[in-house]
Amino acid sequence: MIAEHVAFGIIAAVMVASALRVVTARDIVHAALYLVIVLAGVAALFLLVGAEFTGITQVLIYIGAVIVLFLFGIMLTRTGFDQDEETDHKHKFPAVLTALLLLAVMIGALVDRFGDEKLDANLPGGLTPQTTAQVSDELFSQYIVPFEAVSVLLLAALIGAIVIARREEGG
């Protein structure tokens, strides 16, 4: 397990450093690019615990689509060339508070669930690589209802977005 621990340490250190730069970078495009490194780190962690499908989905959705939309939006709405434009610091205090609250909730949930317990690598749900076939089998049998609910929710969001865009167009 030593190699995995070293890899985890390196990835985690890079992620934390980049995450700090996301919130401290003066330029919003730089912040978005540091976010790419953080999200790539998440994908690497998924791969490290054998969740191949989830890791690659992370790359496709977050880096390939979400970040590109971020950058697209930033570049479309700003001039993009002046570096000294002030990033918004008005909401610094509530933002720090929210982050700390989220951290407390997540630590609480993890400690409450696992405590000192160690995952057995040989148990189902342990650190065994999971194939895509297993993921899809579970998704379409055990978790079919939540899966369908999420699909309908996404469809509703999609239609809502189109309706709002159409109304603003004035057509």
Partner: protein
Amino acid sequence: MTAATVVSGLLAVEVPYWAASIIKVGVVALVIPTAALVLGYVFLMKMMSFMQSRLGPMEAGPYGTLQLLADGLKFLQKEDIFPAKADRTVFALAPLVVLISTFLIYVVIPTGPDAVVAQLDVGIFYALAVSSLSVVGILMAGWASANKYALMGGLRAAGQLIAYELPLVLAVMGVVIQAGTLDLQKIVTTQATGEIFGWDGIGNPFILTQFAGFFIFLVAVQAELTQPPFDMPVAESEIVGGYQVEYTGFRFLFFFMGEFGTAFAFAALASVLFLGGWALPWGDLGHWGFNIAGPAIMLVKVLAVSALIFWFRFTYPRLREDQLQRLAWKFLIPLSLVNIVVTGIFKVVL
């Protein structure tokens, strides 16, 4: 001792993990420049020239074969220029991001039963995911150049690549449903061992049943490569090269290699998905000989697919931006969804 035993003996030698890794990295690193040279020479220079009734480069080497090498050397000698207001770090990193995205695709492309860098359970899904990384590099280049033509090119590229990512992925779904796996190696063997209504003479290459998928895939690839008729992001006549406008020397060379390396990689993916990849439908698929014959068989198929891609490129005039988006959202995506539904029905019925 026959040749067969010698070769299978060589293949059976246990290579340590680090040595295998170095060999694999070396192979992938060599494939991209070679692919760029081959495609650039055969299609960009010679095929386009012949279609336009001219000879193309003839001076460097026999029939101008060394022209691209000469061009490459010229690029390496050029001064490394940064625009005065450019964001230097992002500007320097952008071509690397594009090139790395290309490198990562090659990792999963199989060229023989054992001749593959990494056989992943999620092969084709991985290839499509890493190919989408190049958009980030293009946006970085467009933004960091501090040039409005570059920024416009970057934005156009992003809008285009997002729109055509969908038909690209959806076109592949048909093949995945039919083969029942995402693993590129298994997609190859499924086609080689398949049969058409009980006749197994040529296996069952998916181009026969997934012709719509093949067509959508090629059109989407054309747009992903930002080459004519989908070259608005780099349109020389309006925005003088788009996101590449401020790049010179070896950084421009990176973009060039990235473009042709990706063209080669997508052609290889198309030949694996639709034309049966490295395998021939006759003979034992596990045979060691396929590790040597496989790359050659692949190369023939890849060049055939590339010829199609470049034929489109030299034939059609540039689309307008709204025509481009309409083609993706109103024609290609609905068509690929219908293709998925039909494939799904057949998969369940048969």
